[in-house]
């Protein structure tokens, strides 16, 4: 069934983050010095909040917007940008057979309801009944639909009409890596011709900061670029919406779609995360992915989070390949977990299209200037807790 000629092009990209919305805005911002992070929203934690979006532009019905919490609005909005970018928005013939793999975590909580429960539980005579009564009377019935991981996909189906197939991968950073890996495999094997892949993450959530603060993973007080956060390290959450349209070459050519780049390969693995495991996992994935590439104008877009030991071990891997020119987008975007990898694959495609890489932003010397145009960009994804992956994006010549 697999046809050796089949390949996946990236024909649409949608992105939104602290840098703004849209591919060109991102490219310009990446070519300027890093803007730093916000220290006032959730002090002492640093985060990269979203530049406000006019949701009406991609989610025209207010009723639809009301049914969503921010993470779903950001995702549905960005998915719309990607469909626009690919030129298939509103094309019901194509959308009815467009496959979808979303990477998602869980949705927002009602912070006021949670606070009322936190306040009342210690003095409740019957804590169990108190919890039941408060949640029953105070939670909005539709909030659940804004929390369910698979309902970002559901909203994209409703708002944009993507209905070919719909799967949602969860599991933090690895979800984004595997969503791309499986979508690519399906296209190459002839199981899919066109696929919408991506997700969204809302950084402005104290409940998520809490879950990472228990393990002391958050960057606090002072902003530093991701490579300069050792030895303790830390990540600064970043709000990210990132979607790609992957399309089989012949399908794209037939409708005259212009590719940003080709998604050549995506590989992933799970290491046990004993000391040295991440570097070893990346070595193994590199062996797998680099078999048929010649060294030269190869750039690396790292998804390094700044959290340790993940970032230090990724650095150890990169230092074994001094010929690779490295950039870490996390310095600009912060860390957005599930959609981080699709975002970086999108940025890699932009670098290919622009024929250049943005300047280094690193005081440690790992990032070096690049002369000439990258022909091939490798994207790394090392989860803050689990999951390792690499992707190769190359020019369509």
């Amino acid at each position: 069934m697999a046809d050796a000629e089949r390949e996946a092009w990236i024909t649409g990209i949608g992105m939104a983050s602290c840098l703004g919305e849209g591919v060109e805005t991102h490219w310009q911002a990446l070519n300027a010095p890093p803007p730093g992070a916000n220290a006032t929203l959730f002090p002492p934690y640093l985060i990269h909040p979203l530049t406000p979006l006019d949701f009406d532009k991609q989610i025209p019905k207010k009723g639809d917007q009301r049914q969503m919490e921010p993470w779903q609005r950001i995702g549905t909005y960005t998915a719309g940008l990607a469909l626009d970018s690919a030129g298939i928005k509103g094309n019901t013939e194509i959308l009815s057979r467009t496959d979808m793999i979303i990477c998602a975590g869980g949705g927002e909580r009602d912070l006021a309801v949670d606070a009322a429960v936190m306040t009342g539980l210690p003095k409740a005579t019957d804590p169990g009944t108190f919890l039941n009564e408060r949640l029953t009377s105070d939670l909005r019935p539709t909030l659940f639909l804004a929390q369910l991981s698979n309902l970002l996909a559901g909203n994209i189906s409703i708002v944009h009409g993507v209905i070919g197939s719909s799967r949602t991968f969860m599991g933090e950073e690895a979800a984004g890596i595997d969503a791309l890996r499986i979508s690519l495999s399906r296209i190459v094997a002839g199981q899919s011709d066109i696929s919408l892949v991506g997700g969204s993450y809302n950084a402005e959530r104290p409940d998520l900061i809490m879950l990472h603060e228990v393990a002391d993973l958050m960057l606090k007080d002072k902003f530093k670029t991701v490579w300069a956060r050792g030895p303790k390290g830390g990540h600064a959450f970043g709000t990210i919406g990132a979607f790609l349209v992957l399309e089989e070459r012949a399908h794209a050519e037939k409708r005259g779609a212009k590719p940003f780049a080709r998604l050549k390969a995506v590989v992933s693995d799970r290491s046990r995360r004993q000391p040295g495991d991440i570097t070893a996992a990346l070595d193994k994935l590199w062996d797998e992915i680099s078999r048929d590439i010649s060294p030269g104008a190869l750039a690396v877009l790292s998804g390094a989070t700044g959290a340790e030991p993940a970032t230090g071990e990724e650095r150890a891997f990169l230092k074994k390949h001094p010929e690779l020119v490295v950039r870490a987008t996390g310095t600009y975007l912060g860390h957005g977990l599930e959609p981080q990898f699709p975002m970086n694959v999108g940025i890699a495609a932009l670098a290919i299209r622009h024929g250049s890489l943005f300047p280094p932003a690193d005081s440690t010397g790992l990032e070096q200037p690049m002369t000439g145009a990258p022909q091939l960009v490798m994207v790394t994804g090392v989860g803050h807790w689990r999951g390792e992956g690499l992707a190769l994006v190359e020019a369509v010549t």
Binding site: T136, P141, F144, L145, S149, S157, I163, A174, L217
Partner: protein, 427 residues
């Protein structure tokens, strides 16, 4: 010997191992005995206080103790039991060394209330005016570092991958109530692509906790027929009033026919086809024309290369909500025409409840047992027929039947629909 490829030239995918845990018991034997005896696993909830709740029943798996209770801990234990049974039956690989990837359907994991409250208490607050600022101060004490890995969504799959030695990056997935079927579909596709000879596909759900129950209750999705609990789940009956939340896990070892034959494995059934179609109508309701669920079933039949006439039993989604059962009936009538009335269709959920993320996998196991035993489990609690649903729901009592091909439906909130076609033996 028949071909190892299907009509479309793809590797035929078979099942060589199955495991299941539900409120009816642990393992295939106990489940099948109780299922065909028409027993219910639905009970009054004992895990937590139910004061102030409209729904006080569930198909909780209480014979497995998890202390302190957390949803991911129970999801893990249920996955372990189902996977152990499936892998042992299959005889594949070596202990702790499963030769293929893991696809795990799992509920979205969140920190539970008892743990959240521990963080608030650790801040030293007396509770007055408490907010997430207090929880953050408690988090910063460093005493709860283990909450981080525990409540990562990837943690359940990570545990299963470690224990059974599956290969590559384990995939955690959700298509709501269709998740278990999606896990099987992803395994089927991976084997058809030739990426692997085997896949471990699991659906697990251990989310009978106060907040999860209340969320479904607020959507008016749950039965409130608390007394007697075993009479609450009434799929297809006129007096059905919602589904009953339940827990459990199902596991399948999928394998290419070629690989199964090469190692002399016993073939338990064939995964003949899979179809899906998403619904763009509404977040919780099916499109009124039934188009997505009709398309989903037709896609599964087409993928299996079978005409509707080949299906002789349907394992429906059959949740027992007024809406689902009406729409599913309409879809079945559209796909199967006049013959729909004579194809037996019985809902396992009448006995085990709705196991949510696990349902698609558990019901695939029960569909395969139906094929194996040539016996149809009943739809229990069917006392008041609904004239709008003129189907043979195998009311109240199991019966023998000749079954060669089963269609198993899973329809999720959010409009994600998946249908599987399962067969008895390679064509």
């Amino acid at each position: 010997m028949t071909s190892e490829r299907d009509k479309a030239g793809r590797p035929i995918v078979v099942v060589t191992g199955m495991g299941v845990v539900t409120s009816l018991g642990a393992g295939k034997d106990e489940n099948w005995a109780n299922l065909t005896a028409g027993k219910s696993g639905i009970r009054t909830i004992a895990r937590f206080p139910t004061g102030g709740l409209k729904t006080r029943i569930a198909g909780a798996v209480d014979f497995i103790k998890v202390e302190p209770f957390t949803t991911p801990d129970l999801c893990e234990r249920l996955s372990d039991l189902a996977a152990e049974e499936a892998i042992a039956q299959s005889g594949i690989g070596r202990r702790g060394d499963f030769p293929g990837p893991l696809f795990l359907a799992v509920p979205p994991i969140e920190i539970d209330w008892p743990q959240r409250q521990l963080l608030v208490e650790a801040s030293g607050t007396n509770g007055e005016g408490a907010t997430y600022d207090d929880a953050l101060r408690g988090a910063a004490t460093g005493r709860f570092a283990n909450f981080h890995p525990r409540f990562q969504i990837a943690s359940v799959a990570d545990h299963v991958a470690e224990k059974f030695g599956t290969k590559g990056s384990p995939i955690s997935l959700s298509t709501a109530c269709a998740s278990g079927a999606t896990a099987i579909q992803l395994g089927l596709e991976a084997i058809r692509r030739g990426e692997t000879d085997a896949a471990l596909c699991i659906g697990t759900d251990g989310s009978v906790n106060p907040e999860s129950l209340i969320r479904f209750s607020l959507l008016s999705a749950l039965s409130t027929s608390n007394d007697p609990p075993e009479g609450a789940a009434r799929p297809f009956a006129k007096n059905r009033d919602g589904f009953v939340m339940a827990e459990g896990a199902g596991a399948l070892v999928l394998e290419s026919l070629e690989s199964a034959r090469a190692r002399g494995a016993r073939i338990l059934g064939v995964l003949e086809g899979c179809g899906e179609m998403a619904d763009s109508f509404h977040r919780t309701r099916s499109s009124p024309d039934g188009k997505p669920i009709i398309g989903c079933m037709r896609n599964a039949l087409a993928d299996a290369g079978l005409a509707p006439e080949a299906i002789d039993y349907i394992n429906p989604h059959g949740t027992g909500t007024p809406e689902n059962d009406k729409m599913e009936c309409m879809g079945v009538m559209a796909v199967f025409g006049e013959r729909a009335k004579s194809i037996p269709i019985s809902s396992n959920k009448s006995m085990v409840g709705h196991t949510l993320s696990a349902a698609g996998t558990i019901e695939a196991v029960f569909s395969l047992l139906t094929l194996q035993h040539q016996r149809l489990p009943p739809t229990i609690n069917y006392q008041v027929p609904d004239p709008a649903i003129p189907l043979d729901v195998v009311p109240n009592k199991a019966r023998d039947a000749k079954v060669s091909h089963v269609l198993s439906n899973s329809f999720g909130f959010g409009g994600q629909n998946v249908s599987l076609v399962l067969g008895r033996e390679p064509a």
